[in-house]
């Protein structure tokens, strides 16, 4: 390869890297109303960087001190003859909370129920695959649930308000759906349904009387009452309920038991004859999903319903699956208040980035001092490796936590070790008197299996971590898969760069701090 060609290739690569780095790091305004947020500022950050969205739920009949004080003020200002009950006689103080004695005569039993519900909620939120989350029982009577907001740094800094509200809505939706209390009921909004029986005789069902309808007033859809389609507990009709996405479609799948298949056929026959032709799935008084086009009876082992997005499908599936498996919250809880965004007093993402830049500068300095020109080239390739990691974090929506940052450091170490092995081999061969080009060729050949074995084992291990692990472990596994593949590809790229940079050298026995040992025999 000639000097010109070598320079052209080097400059071209440098340009590509510069452009990739520019879009990865620099954010800028586009026109007056739009803004381009860099790849780095669009990477999702874990709870240790941007905090949690959280809510505290209280069992019905349990109120906070501020609510209690409000009742006291109301009672005091209304006077004793107002007919209001004195809060002091109605409520019993329990830590920072007040318990309605009529609703909960046994506070220890109430505490036991709250603890049991917290365990169920913990299991439900555990299935969300959050990098971290918290389900904590406060003072025995309330449950505080925290889920990560996964803000990007742009959203965290309020430079992307739309994205920020989308993330908060997602967290709020998860908190309100997964905390649904009560049993599963299948419902309709029709008060009566006219249908024909097997003999073709017209029959009218009064839905108000048909089902067990203690929630008829509460379980509403757009303000209309709904009615249960079955007097029995419908949970045994379902073997499992799963949610996720198939391609770009979010799908919720209900799998029926043998008994359930028959019952669902009966229920959907009724729904198909109704005017709304909609089957609602309620947990307690919360409508989780509606099957709005039930035009014919369902006679199959499962049905799949399309939902707005995969996250919604997963939230609903987790809740319904938990309920059909008997994990029903034993208490009714008050409405989930709008989840508060919690900015974190923890690690600053910007400072972590500064730390990473400093560490990378240290690596560059080390490589350049040790391997001179070759070290500088390897540093450039290591920079390319870092860019690959940054782009992968954003494109694969990997949440960055401290553990992920550390795993990225381990992966850069893997790349550096691979390079160090081959450099040592080149050095060894150069000392035997070969030309640099011959040494490079033989060195890469000699260490081929070493490097391949190393990367092969690691890529399979990373895939196992990504697929079996959940939360942070899965995130570390996923970035490791990308990192190990990138390390292997870029390792071979160093071979190419050896060729590009060493070809124009006039002295074939001297390059990048390496030189042939001239023996006396020579």
């Amino acid at each position: 390869m000639g000097k010109t060609k070598s320079i052209v290739i080097t400059v071209l690569l440098a340009l590509i890297m510069a452009v990739a780095a520019f879009f990865a790091v620099v954010s800028f305004d586009v026109g007056t109303s739009k803004r381009y947020n860099s790849i780095l500022s669009n990477v999702s950050l874990g709870a240790d960087y941007t905090g949690y969205a959280y809510t505290t739920i209280y069992p019905e009949g349990v109120i906070t001190a501020s609510d209690y004080n409000g009742l006291v003020d109301e009672y005091t200002s209304a006077g004793t003859g107002s007919g209001l009950t004195d809060p002091a006689t109605k409520y019993e103080q329990c830590g920072n909370l007040y318990v309605d004695k009529d609703e909960h005569s046994d506070i220890d039993a109430l505490k036991a129920s709250v603890a049991s519900d917290a365990k169920i909620l913990n299991a439900r939120f555990g299935q969300k695959g959050y990098s971290s989350y918290g389900v904590a029982v406060e003072d025995g009577l309330s449950i505080k649930i925290s889920v990560p907001t996964y803000f990007t740094s742009a959203q965290f800094a309020s430079l992307d308000e739309d994205g920020r509200s989308t993330r908060l809505s997602a967290a709020t939706a998860a908190l309100s759906t997964i905390t649904s209390a009560g049993t599963l009921t299948l419902r309709t909004s029709d008060t009566s349904i006219e249908t024909t029986d097997a003999n073709g005789n017209a029959k009218t069902y009064d839905m108000v009387k048909l089902g067990s309808d203690e929630w008829a007033d509460k379980a509403t859809v757009d303000g209309s009452k709904t009615y249960s389609l079955s007097k029995d507990d419908v949970a045994p009709y379902f073997s499992s309920i799963t949610g996720g996405s198939i391609g770009s479609t979010a799908v919720l799948t209900f799998n029926f038991t043998a008994e359930g298949r028959e019952k669902i056929k009966e229920i959907t026959t009724l729904v198909a004859s109704s005017s709304s032709q909609t089957l609602y799935f309620f947990v307690g008084d919360s409508q989780l999903v509606g099957y709005s086009s039930c035009t014919s009876p369902i006679d199959s082992g499962s049905i799949s319903l399309q939902t707005n997005d995969a996250d919604t499908a997963r939230n609903i599936a987790i809740t319904l699956d938990s309920v059909v498996k008997g994990n029903v919250l034993s208490l009714q809880y008050g409405d989930v208040s709008v989840a508060s965004q919690k900015s974190n007093g923890g690690i600053s993402a910007i400072l972590t980035l500064v730390a990473c830049v400093l560490l990378f500068a240290g690596l560059v300095a080390f490589l350049t001092v040790k391997y001179k020109k070759l070290g500088a080239i390897t540093s450039a390739i290591a920079f390319l490796f870092a860019l690959v990691e940054v782009y992968a974090l954003q494109l694969l929506s990997i949440t960055v936590t401290f553990a992920v940052v550390f795993t990225c450091a381990v992966l850069i170490a893997l790349f550096a070790i691979s390079c160090a092995i081959v450099f040592a081999e080149v050095k060894r061969l150069t000392l035997t008197g070969r030309t640099i080009q011959a040494s490079i060729k033989d060195a890469y050949k000699n260490v081929l299996m070493t490097i391949t074995d190393l990367h092969l084992v690691l890529v399979v291990v990373a895939i196992l971590l990504a697929t079996i692990g959940v939360g942070e472990v899965a995130a570390c596994g996923l970035i490791s898969v990308i990192g190990v593949v990138a390390s292997y590809v870029l390792y071979w790229f160093t071979r190419f760069m050896w060729y590009v940079t060493s070809s124009p050298e006039k002295d074939k026995f001297k390059f990048a701090g390496l030189k042939r040992v001239v023996y006396e025999d020579d």
Binding site: G95, G134, A136, G345, S348, V354, T401, T450, V461, L464
Partner: protein, 339 residues
């Protein structure tokens, strides 16, 4: 560094490892019964006490620096984490304390904050017992993933190297994870889900370094230069040949953990913020000890044992004995011909 002889100090390293892991287990077990658990659970695993300060600014208190008042009141009782929250109506500061913090001290803080906030529509509340359910499910899946990874590495090494190398590699993973867990138990660093993920990173580092070591060992065993060299010496040489790379990589990772931890501490001077960096550093220390000292020493012993078993099984099999005798005769004849 390359002259360091580790294989002959096998007993020392086994002793150190066993003792250290045993100490870790003992401390963990004692703490499980008398303190807050086998590890010092932090993050989403920890039960804790908290003080929640709720407030909102109005025209009456816009000049009040709530954070300063709280900081002043909390000084002297180290919180493990501080977080700031905003919602539609008010703002919150939540101070988390370890579950063993004295209630009287915390109540004094609450009283002090409340006395400063009189008439400012603000208030502090002490939650004496917050029982965190934690994400135990994450640990179970991580354990399954790591076990599968180690099993895969074992099988791969059986095919690519030998059973003895596969066994040593498996032992290296188990040992390094054991030392890592013992370090966490002994140092009582708050352990959250990041500790599980860093445990996975420990396994990755161990696999990278043991992969290098076993590859070099295999190459050296095949190298004519070492045909007549004692097997232990070959393993020793292999370990010393890759020691510079191993130590450099681990020192670099340790520096990375320290720098990340230092910057985390700059951003928030609470243990909850920089504990993950310390956990990472402990992981690197476990890998350093395991990869530099323990694995080569143990592998040399396993290799010698396997060779002994192999030679004794050869000598105990009559057919093999005959074959060996025949081979020896052939070698003698060849030597005579050469002479």
């Amino acid at each position: 560094m390359t002259n360091l002889k580790v294989c002959k100090k096998l007993h020392v390293f086994i002793f150190i490892s066993v003792i250290f892991i045993a100490i870790g287990m003992a401390i963990g077990t004692v703490c499980h019964f008398v303190a807050n658990g086998f590890f010092n659970y932090g993050g989403e695993f920890a039960s804790y006490k908290s003080i929640t300060v709720s407030y909102y600014y109005s025209e009456h208190n816009e000049n009040t620096n709530v954070e300063e008042i709280c900081k002043y009141a909390v000084a002297g009782v180290n919180p493990v984490e501080v977080s700031y929250a905003t919602n539609e109506l008010s703002e919150e500061i939540v101070y988390k304390f370890s579950a063993t913090t004295d209630n009287a001290k915390l109540q004094a803080i609450v009283d002090e904050i409340n006395s400063n906030f009189t008439g400012l529509e603000s208030g502090a509340i002490l939650h004496e017992g917050v029982v965190n359910e934690g994400g135990a499910k994450n640990i179970v899946y991580a354990a399954i993933a790591l076990a599968s990874a180690a099993a895969f590495q074992f099988l791969y090494y059986i095919i690519r190297y030998k059973l003895r190398a596969a066994f040593s590699a498996l032992l290296a993973c188990v040992h390094n994870l054991g030392v890592y867990a013992a370090l966490l138990a002994v140092t009582r660093i708050p352990v959250g889900t990041e500790a599980v993920a860093i445990g996975a990173a420990v396994v990755l580092i161990t696999m990278i370094l043991s992969g290098l070591f076993f590859d070099r060992t295999r190459k050296n065993f095949k190298n004519e230069k070492f045909v007549k060299t004692d097997r232990v010496e070959v393993v020793e040489t292999s370990a010393s040949e890759i020691r510079i790379i191993t130590v450099t990589a681990l020192v670099a990772l340790a520096i990375a953990a320290v720098v990340l931890g230092a910057f985390a501490a700059i951003s928030a001077m609470y243990i909850g913020a920089y504990a993950p960096a310390i956990v990472a550093l402990l992981g690197v220390i476990a890998c350093f000890y395991g990869s530099v000292f323990f694995t080569p020493a143990v592998h040399s012993a396993i290799d010698v044992c396997c060779e002994k078993v192999k030679s004794s099984s050869k000598s105990s099999t009559p057919k093999k004995q005959k074959a060996t005798a025949k081979e020896e005769n052939e070698v003698k004849e060849n030597d005579e011909v050469k002479e």
